[in-house]
Amino acid sequence: MGNVLLETLNVRVVGSGEKFLVLGHGVGTDQSAWQRIVPYFAPYYRIILFDLVCAGSVNPDYFDFRKYSTLDAFVDDLLNILDALGVDRCAFVGHSFSAMVGILASIRRPELFTKLILIGASPRFLNDGDYHGGFEEGEIDKVFSAMETNYEAWVNGFAPLAVGADVPTAVREFSRTLFNMRPDITLFISRTVFNSDLRGVLGLVKVPCCIIQTSKDVSVPTSVAEYLRTHLGGRTTVEILKTEGHLPHLSAPALLGQVLRRALSR
């Protein structure tokens, strides 16, 4: 089981060092998104890279629509990977979707994680009363229908928006990985994301967290970082990156690398 999973999800362990560092990518990217970050940590950590089952680089046939309708299945995958690799302690860096997965994983197995670093994380993307998640229900539906009508056009429009700035390479890279995903899976996983709500369970997190947030992110308003900080159960810090976009590891790897290093050493 373990080995099949490792193979399916393209799990890779790189770098030399004692401690494990898990890098979890977000929806629309795959582990290649971390390629500019990895060199910063490869000398000091054993870095575990994997693809989410929804990533374009994973055989879409493994994506079981029934199973992956909630985040828990992804958490299972993550924990199974770590178990299969025999990891007993690790630091987890999760971007966006993986940040959510990391939160849940740390609730289920707090002893496994020394630290969670959440990049562009949000417990809930939809606005709800006092909570400002950044999206209205209607907007989301529009996005979904845009995705349905013409995926490629949507990718072309969405990628620069998400990357947030004029970094053509990052936009290209994100478009590539986003396009590699099968559109129905993208749509499905997006719905899963927008239907998820972690607000109630944040208090269950006991692992120290570091929230890394760019100063302008189309998907996550800055207030969310503050919300996370106050509601997460563990010792939590917030780092604001002086850059824009939802994908700082693509658009500003050097900046993120520094902040990550600082966050990990704390």
């Binding site: 000398p43 056009a153 709500d197 972690l198 269950l204 690398g257």
Partner: protein, 1125 residues
């Protein structure tokens, strides 16, 4: 994670596997790490009978000729392939990249869903669910999937193809036109089987993982229910936590009641569910009495006793309900455990205790906080209830209805692409133009690429000259191609990387050829009108211009090539050009040199290297020669152009070798004069404007010291206070040029590495900029970054960092090394200024030290760029070098840190009146106090009476402290004494010894050879005190002139800092003086008009902190007017 080729091959039919092998071959030949879709396309196009090529031929744009468009495709493809980073390990099979593997997998899935194949594959997949690799992908499907890859479709788009049309052509080969009646054609990306057979029973098909059947059924929270079931099976009582926990709870109860399969595990399936949540909430709200609830519990007891099924799940609802009585029945709660909620809890606990094995409690909480409150109120429950918290995160099963299957699928049918997308339109619009316009460029570029990728230099120069381009353009081509070849020859392994650069340059040339402004080409034609005269001109000029050349050449350069973007190209070219006529001339005129050259046998080596290449065909020989000879001559001539100093030859011997080469070149050229005549004419015609200064070649032995003197003088002009450092820098630059001159054959490195240590950040920067301007001719050739800021951006800590705005834009998406490499690629002749190198991270460190060792800087993509023509200046503020002697100079009043941090506030003048006692104290307190009323005792201490003398620093500090104690005035003169201590400076002695290293380990980490490459230059700290003194005198002078000497002038320390900062940072020496003269004096003039000044008046010059000033004087960053209050 790349897939091994063998694994990928297993998924393919022999035909497709064959294509994959070809692709792998392409990748291996190019030395790439992975086989990508691009390689596959390349291979597919070159297959003997290529369906892709055929499809392209049919799908091509009718507006262009097929040959042209195929050429464009070939070019675009090779350009993209060249961008793929090469890998070190060449030789084994490059594994299949993720994107290509994804394409293979996509095609597997497509193929299986093809209606024709459906039944076949369904049978297979039903037998063996997990193994889909049994499907062998056919070539056609593989091609279709590969065309879906954005990278590939971009390439096709750039060549003017629409990948959708190609797909169409692929799917509907001409003979099969009969299949047209089908309106939409068979889907290739996703299956619309669902649509075509809507009546089909879904039941059996569920067995294989088809993405859409029963889609709606997945979303009733089944997954959550399953998890709840799991917890129950573990005989624990789940508590669902999450915003949507209540909904999930409801849906779980529903599905258990409906006895759905697969929710509860076998051993507990068939359990009953009883919901008491509504009863509980009514009871707690006081709507019903205790009896009602009791009857429920009795009922539960009966059910359990009847022993139906494996157990009973009791749903008590939301914890919030149990907590709500806390507010409503406050008195009850106070009584303790007697409230209704406590009663419910107690009852539930009893139920559990009675029927332990058979009862499960099930509840929900909106958030963890609710749970915490509950546990806080009923501490026993945590243990008694054996709760397991289950985070619930999915909101609600809303997906099903809004999931129109058909539209999504249609969008992914390749024909969906027929609805033109922006990206695809762009391609054809832009590219055919380019293709048609630059056909000749294209052809040549292709040739070159091919030639280079084969590893040879077989392209023919002659070809170029036969082309119909105007001579000016041709010259440019020549220059470029040579420059590239030089690079390519440097390192055979990274050839491919170079090809990319080549392509880019061709693009640039292409751009230039067809978009140059008209006047420019005119100039060139003018030049070429008198080519033959030039030789003589040159000779005559050399004396007249010997000195004034620098300015001339600087003027000339921008005129001649105002196409900044291809500056490096031009410069390469210029140098080449200038070499040739020079050699001709020197042969003819420098007769005195020639005999000597002939006598010296030492020339041997160099001649041989040149000679070994010259036997090649005529056109090749010129290239060969250039590529051999140029590294040195390039540098020398660069210096010529920039410095007007002529090549940096320290001795006759070193002088000779280049000359020999020139002569050789000249010979070669004279041999082939007829063919290359254009070239030489071109070179000559450009001569007078471009490299006029090389005439000073003739002045033989004096060069070195001349060079040095001139460089030293120019540097000192700009940064006068760093005498020793400037001297060492000039010396090193000159020596380095000389050295590179001497050893052309072996190490042709002309790069210079400095490490500027010590204080005076501004001075370092100024010197570096000066180097760029003096040596490379323009400030554009100055590349700077600061590693102390997190991302290589320059910190905008103070107003004075104005020039570093917009830095963050440059760094988006790159790291520092990428940025430097990119800039160096654009401008190889540059000064690279790396501030605070001691704070470099691992990546930057390794790239830099690699560059120091090898002369090649590799960016994060693995592409390398030569640093051979650059000057690298690294700075660090560290001064703690054990071997450098410290000379403690007088502690300074103004630290560099403080000055650099000085903010630009508006300034104001404040007039106050003092009684005499107070004013005495004040006089003591201020350094810059002016007036006759001050205490004579202290006046003695002043060196000059009547001016704003800066007193001995230590005393001032003390006095100001005392003054602060005695008077309550807001005096801002507290300079911490510790700060002064920090201001120790090393004496100017320069340490060239690599063994005395910085304290930072990585600098020590440079291997010995590297250490000697890096020249360490120690900077002194800037003498702010003298400057302060000068400025104070200046201000006081103005004050006296206008207001007279009765009044006191008090200059706030902050104002002084601001003035100093402005003076320190401004480029011209006079800027601050002018400001004092104009702005401040104007302010003073206003003072007597507004106030009646007496002998007791104190005129204070203060800063207004917190205000931003609206206007600045242009040259210096000081306010445009003084506020009077």
């Amino acid at each position: 994670m790349p897939t091994p080729v063998t694994v990928a091959r297993q998924c393919l039919t022999p035909e497709a596997a064959n294509a994959l092998d070809e692709a792998v071959g392409v990748a291996r030949r190019r030395g790439h790490a992975q086989t990508t879709s691009l390689h596959a396309v390349s291979a597919l196009l070159s297959l003997p009978s290529s369906p892709l090529r055929e499809a392209c031929a049919r799908a091509r744009n009718a507006a262009c000729s097929p040959r042209l468009q195929f050429k464009a495709l070939d070019l675009c493809l090779s350009v993209s392939l060249d961008r793929v980073p090469s890998s070190q390990q060449v030789g084994h099979e490059p594994p299949v990249s993720n994107s290509l593997m994804a394409a293979i997998k996509r095609s597997q899935a497509n193929q299986r869903r093809q209606p024709e194949n459906f039944h076949l594959y369904r049978d297979i997949s039903q037998q063996n669910l997990s193994n889909i690799s049994c499907i062998k992908v056919e070539l056609q499907h593989l091609i279709l999937s590969i065309l879906d890859d954005p990278v590939v479709s971009r390439v096709f788009g750039e060549a003017g193809f629409r990948s959708s049309e190609i797909k169409l052509a692929l799917i509907r080969p001409l003979p099969n036109l009969l299949r047209y009646p089908r309106p939409r054609g068979p889907p290739v990306f996703l299956c619309n089987l669902e649509n075509s057979n809507p009546d089909n029973d879904r039941g059996p098909r569920r067995s294989f993982s088809f993405p859409f059947p029963g889609f709606a059924a997945f979303f009733d929270g089944e997954e959550n229910c399953r998890r709840i079931g799991e917890v129950l099976a573990r005989r624990r009582n789940p508590l669902l936590v999450g915003i949507c926990a209540r909904d999930t709870l409801t849906s779980f109860i529903d599905s258990v009641e409906k006895k759905k399969d697969g929710i509860l595990a076998k051993e507990i399936s068939g359990s009953n569910v009883i919901s008491i949540d509504s009863d509980v909430s009514r009871f707690i709200n006081g709507d019903v009495d205790k009896g009602c609830l009791d009857s429920k519990f009795e009922e539960m007891g009966r059910v359990l006793q009847r022993d139906l099924g494996p157990g009973l799940v009791v749903n008590y609802g939301d914890l919030e309900v149990l907590l709500s009585d806390n507010r409503k029945n406050d008195e009850n709660a106070k009584v303790g455990a007697s409230g209704p909620a406590s009663y419910v809890v107690a009852q539930l606990t009893r139920l559990l205790q009675l029927h332990g094995e058979k009862v499960w409690l099930l509840g929900s909480a909106a958030s963890y906080e609710t749970y915490l409150k509950f546990v806080g109120r009923f501490p026993s429950t945590e243990k008694d209830w054996n709760l397991q918290i289950l985070p619930i995160t999915s909101v609600r099963p809303s997906l099903a209805e809004s999931f129109p299957k058909s539209s999504l699928m249609e969008s992914f049918v390749p024909f969906g692409g027929l609805f033109s997308m922006p990206s695809e339109i762009k391609g054809p619009l832009r590219n055919p133009q380019c293709v048609t316009r630059c056909r000749s460029c294209d052809d040549k570029c292709e040739q070159e690429v091919r030639a280079i990728s084969k590893g040879g230099f077989t392209f023919s120069m002659a070809d170029r000259y036969q082309s119909s381009l105007p001579p000016w353009l041709r010259m440019k081509e020549l220059g470029t191609s040579k420059g590239l070849n030089v690079k390519a020859k440097d390192d055979g392994i990274i050839l491919n990387a170079k090809v990319a650069a080549l392509q880019k340059k061709w693009d640039a040339i292409c751009q230039q050829l067809h978009h140059t402004p008209f006047p420019e080409s005119k100039t060139c034609q003018l030049n070429s009108e008198f080519p033959t005269v030039v030789g003589f001109q040159f000779i005559q000029d050399k004396k007249e211009f010997a000195d004034g050349q620098r300015s001339n050449s600087r003027d000339a350069l921008p005129n001649d090539c105002d196409c900044r973007n291809i500056n490096p190209v031009m410069s390469v070219n210029l140098q080449k050009q200038s070499d040739m006529p020079y050699s001709v001339v020197s042969k003819a005129k420098n007769g005195s040199f020639l005999p000597r050259l002939g006598e010296k046998p030492t020339k041997g080596d160099d001649l041989e290297t040149v000679g070994s290449i010259s036997p090649c065909s005529l056109s090749n020989s010129s290239v060969g020669n250039c590529s051999q000879a140029s590294p040195t001559s390039v540098t020398s001539v660069t210096t010529d152009l920039g410095l007007g100093l002529c090549s940096v030859l320290s001795s006759n011997e070193s002088m000779k070798t280049p000359n020999q080469k020139h002569i050789d070149l000249g010979k070669d050229f004279s041999d082939c004069f007829r063919t290359n005549i254009d070239l030489i004419h071109e070179g000559i015609s450009n001569r007078p404007t471009q490299s006029s200064s090389s005439s000073s070649h003739d002045f033989g032995g004096q060069f070195n010291s001349n060079d040095f003197k001139r460089l030293f003088r120019d540097l000192s002009e700009r940064v006068g206070w760093q005498d020793e450092a400037t001297r060492l820098i000039s010396q090193t630059v000159v020596n380095c040029r000389t050295r590179s001159e001497k050893c052309h054959g072996a190490s042709q490195r002309g790069d210079v590495w400095f490490n500027f240590i010590g204080p005076d950040r501004r001075g370092k920067r100024k010197i570096a900029i000066a180097l760029a301007e003096i040596i490379y001719g323009s400030r554009d050739n100055f590349i700077s970054m600061d590693l102390s800021s997190e991302d290589g951006m320059i910190k905008t800590s103070s107003l004075f960092d104005y020039e570093e705005l917009n830095y963050d834009l440059r760094f988006r998406g790159k790291n520092v090394v990428d940025y430097v490499a990119g800039e160096l690629r654009k401008r190889p002749w540059s000064v690279v200024f790396v501030e605070n190198v001691d704070q470099a991270d691992v990546l930057i460190w390794s790239s830099l030290s690699h560059a120091i060792r090898t002369g090649k800087l590799s960016d994060s993509h693995g592409r390398e760029v030569s640093t051979k023509n650059a000057i690298f200046v690294m700075t660090s503020t560290l001064t703690t070098d054990s071997k450098v002697l410290f000379q403690r100079i007088e502690a300074s009043n103004y630290s560099e840190d403080k000055i650099l941090r000085a903010k630009g506030w508006p300034m104001r003048i404040l007039v106050e009146y003092m009684d005499s006692t107070n004013s005495q104290n004040l006089t003591l307190a201020t350094t810059t106090r002016e007036g006759r009323t001050s205490n004579p005792g202290f006046l003695n201490k002043r060196k000059m009476l009547g001016t704003n003398e800066v007193l001995d620093q230590g005393e001032i500090v003390e006095m100001s402290k005392r003054a602060n104690r005695t008077s309550s005035m807001k005096l801002d003169l507290n300079i911490p004494a510790e700060e002064d201590e920090l201001q120790e400076t090393e004496d100017g002695s320069v340490d060239n010894d690599s063994s005395s290293d910085n304290s930072k380990p990585w600098l020590q980490g440079f291997p010995g050879q590297v250490g000697s490459n890096v020249v360490k230059v120690v900077f002194k700290s800037f003498d702010f005190d003298t400057l302060a003194e000068k400025l104070t005198n200046l201000v006081a002078e103005g004050f006296h002139r206008i207001i007279g000497s009765e009044c006191l002038l008090e200059i706030d320390h902050k104002v002084m800092e601001q003035l100093l900062a402005a003076a320190y940072l401004s480029d011209s020496n006079k800027a601050v003086e002018d400001w004092v003269e104009q702005v401040l004096t104007r302010g003073f003039v206003e003072v007597p008009k507004r106030y009646s000044l007496s002998a007791h008046s104190v005129v204070k010059l203060l800063t207004c902190e917190g205000l931003r000033f609206e206007e600045q004087t242009p040259s210096v960053h000081l306010p445009l007017k003084i506020i009077l209050t």
